[in-house]
Amino acid sequence: MTTDTLMLARQHLLAPAGLGEADLHSALSCLLGHAIDSGDLYFQQRRAESWGLEDQQVKSASHAIQQGVGVRAISGEKTGFAYSDEIVMPALLEAATAARAIARQSGEGQLRVWRTPQRPALYPPLDPLETLTAEAKVQLLERLDVEARHQDPRVTQVMVSLAAVQDIFLVAGSDGTLAGDVRPLVRLNVSVIVEQDGRREQGSSGGGGRVGYGWFLDEDRALKYAREAVRLALVNLDAAPAPAGTMTVVLGPGWPGILLHEAIGHGLEGDFNRKGTSAFTGRIGERVASPLCTVVDDGTLAHRRGSLNIDDEGTPTQCTTLIERGVLKGYLQDQLNARLMKMAPTGNGRRESYAHLPLPRMTNTYMMAGEHDPADIIASVERGLYAVNFGGGQVDITSGKFVFSASEAYLIENGHVTRPVKGATLIGNGPDVLTQVSMVGHDLQLDAGVGTCGKDGQSVPVGVGQPTLKIEALTVGGTQA
């Protein structure tokens, strides 16, 4: 399958410029001839569109094409990088010349024979922009507006956005890697404002994945986003100020798994650990979570937003165990950091585009299901917070402190979910937080396909997931001290 996508990538990226394998060879030779251990060329074309509805009408939309080639030269721990937004041989050689300037002495680099990784495809190489007509896209958005407004008369604003990207790339490495992929990605979001007695609240819901637009029509997914956005906004209309302080927190299944992304995932990325700047540095084999916790990063889930057939260095993705029954097992690696740490790459080398350098990044990060009934987990809490929806999060890798912000939360009183409370930021310490997990539900869910992770100014789509979790002590940043 990857051979087919490689063929597609060649047709789109190399053929129009009249480039062949011999040209890739000479560009890589130009890199290596100059004292470089290894290097790669990354050709990319990305087509994107977005459609937006507000005031019950689709009034704005845009289309964008981005293409270019990034050239990377590596010498020990040094990386030289240059790129061009023209895919033609002179620009390629110019970029190679700029990138190779990183090296001073003669290097050991040697070109290898091409090889292409083989694996079954996780998603079809389709062009999602073409999977619905423009009329049907407009109709879909208008239908969601009607559906949202139909839910409740307190809805005053409905905003819907629909977006698709087709990302085609080809990577040629001096190690002989010759790989390509065609990645579709769609995203739909419904956001509403509700108003009652002068108080306004917002709610938003959405989803997506590596599929065509038709996926939103299946199982009424799109309509459910519209209903969910309104439900969330209405819950917040009734919300009381959130509590402040350290308490028992029950996290709902699915998107609250952003906990794992912030508290665990980033700290296990290879670059931070190679440099010794992560709070998890040197802790492989140690207990960092309760024995109930097993956490993985899995790039191989079919059609998921965070999944990749191959990463941006051509390494096939895999399911990497990060924590197994509470014990720290492994890091997420790209090629550079894997080599420097004498470990194997894990298929986590990702870049936002040809104009960015690859970094170790997450794919879909989630915790395995446990044995508890979610109802029993709630019933076990005398007083605490039940947080089921979240906005974003952030982590300080070095100190390990992380936050994630609840957008739908309730008080738990005497084993029952009672009143909704306003959104609040939760803060904890990455290496400790999972040691506080005392119950894990059997209800593992992955998120709806909405996550975007930022690192070093680069954004990539990711997924998260988890079952219902009980954390004995976590700090809740409300206003009610």
Partner: protein
């Protein structure tokens, strides 16, 4: 032999070339039937170097082009963009925009800026001071910066590196009212991020300097030492118990609070009624001592612009005077929706200046007496619709005006509306490194959540 790249950042293309491109795009839009059109063409070039533990880690050459067009068929519009400047790409891009415009609904508020608001004279704001920095010299400066941090104290044990970046760009905007304007800009920065470590653990911190002209950058040694000091002072951080206290925001964070204020008076948030500052024009939003003005024409200003991203002339104005909200932040579209006139803020604000108060940092600590001095924030827990604010924080616990110890793993929470109303003081310790110039902000009371 070390190889030296003679031209560190690619030279900017001739301005005439970009003017021709803009004209070609607008002509193509007319040919394809658009009743009006606007286009922007951009070119950026940069060199960046990171040195970590004395060795070069990355050397990056950036060079990026862009081209964007919006076409109008009456009141229906469509937009498209590409990085490809060839004639056939221009044709395809305009075609994509036109295809979209055939499907979007007519929006009576959509359209170009009113012709009488377009900039007629374009003042030279002195924004272009390219730095012919070769890679070898960039490496020396980044290394010097990091070395100053590493040598500062034996507890500086690790580093994420010293970095230097120099960037130049040229953007041209034109529309079918006959406007075409553009100007080159430069931006240079030097930064350092290091890790301090002792028996209490590791703490990271960073510092940076940024300017249009290289002579206005802080020295590499100053940046490195500041990064080291900031990492060191975090060592031994403790938690706090949950409490309500005054909070002093350091200038680099105070800017963010003003940013939340601006987000709430932006046209888009207002016409959607998605703001906690609806219908507040002419009413007090801050205490009387607060004045916030916009000064778009500051020479070498980091957010200076002679006109906004739809060609509208920018001008000095007060946004807050005596605590009272004087104006919103509008582009032509949101202004028409609100029945108002654009404020020349398509694309954002241009040098916001919060008038400094009389007190410096030390005096503000004394005025606060007992409370939290926040020096870092974590997360994005800010709701512009309600004003609810809840974010992770670290900083220092202060008693009797004196710093007691660093704190971390706490949150601070409140509501922006009340936080602004109960602002106690603006400091004179202004941070000049951005589009919002603001000193420390002392807030009367927030909830700190901790142990």
């Amino acid at each position: 032999m070390p190889e030296i790249i003679p031209h560190p950042t690619a030279p900017l293309p001739a301005r005439e070339h970009l003017e021709t491109l803009v004209a070609d795009i607008l002509a193509e839009a007319r040919t394809q039937g658009a009743t009006a059109a606007e286009a922007a063409v951009s070119f950026n070039s940069a060199l960046s170097v990171t040195v970590r533990l004395g060795e070069v880690e990355t050397l990056e050459h950036h060079r990026q082009r862009g081209l964007g067009v919006t076409v109008y068929f009456g009141h229906s519009r469509g937009s498209a963009s590409t990085a490809d400047w060839r004639p056939e790409a221009i044709r395809d891009t305009v075609q994509s925009a036109c295809a979209i415009a055939r499907h979007t609904a007519a929006d009576p508020y959509a359209g170009l800026a009113d012709p009488d608001r377009l900039a007629r004279e374009i003042p030279d704001l002195d924004l272009y001071h390219p730095w012919p920095l070769i890679a070898e010299d960039a490496i020396i400066l980044a290394r010097e910066c990091e070395a100053a941090a590493l040598a500062f104290d034996p507890r500086i044990r690790n580093s994420e590196g010293g970095s230097i970046a120099t960037q130049t760009g040229l953007v041209l905007y034109g529309n079918s009212h006959g406007f075409c304007g553009g100007y080159p800009t430069s931006r240079h920065s030097l930064s350092c991020s290091v890790i301090a470590q002792d028996e209490t653990g590791m703490q990271r911190n960073h510092w940076y300097t940024v300017a249009r002209h290289r002579n206005d950058l802080e020295t590499p040694v100053a940046v490195g030492q500041q990064a080291a000091q900031r990492a060191l002072r975090r060592l031994g951080s403790r938690r706090l118990s949950t409490r309500q206290v005054p909070v002093l925001f350091a200038p680099e964070l105070a800017r963010g609070l003003i940013g939340h204020f601006i987000a709430a008076i932006r046209g888009g948030a207002l016409y959607r009624k998605a703001s906690f500052l609806l219908d507040r024009l002419g009413t007090p939003v801050f205490p009387e001592f607060v004045t916030i003005c916009e000064r778009p024409h500051l020479r070498q200003g980091l957010a200076s612009a002679p006109f906004d991203s739809e060609g509208v002339a920018t001008a000095d104005r007060d946004i807050v005077n005596g605590g009272v909200l004087q104006g919103y932040v509008l582009d032509s579209y949101s202004a028409r929706r609100l029945g108002m006139a654009t404020t020349g803020n398509a694309g954002g604000t241009h040098n916001l200046i919060v008038e400094p108060g009389p007190l410096g940092h030390e005096e503000l600590l004394r005025q606060m007496d007992t409370g939290l001095w926040v020096t870092e924030l974590l997360g994005h827990g800010v709701n512009t619709v309600t004003g609810d604010y809840s974010r992770g924080a670290s900083g220092f616990w202060v008693e009797n005006g004196a710093i007691q110890h660093p704190v971390h793993e706490i949150t601070i929470a409140g509501n922006l509306n009340a936080m602004f109303q109960h602002l106690a003081a603006v400091g004179n310790d202004v941070d000049l490194r951005g589009g919002i110039r603001c000193g420390s902000l002392l807030l009367e009371r927030m909830t700190v959540a901790g142990e």
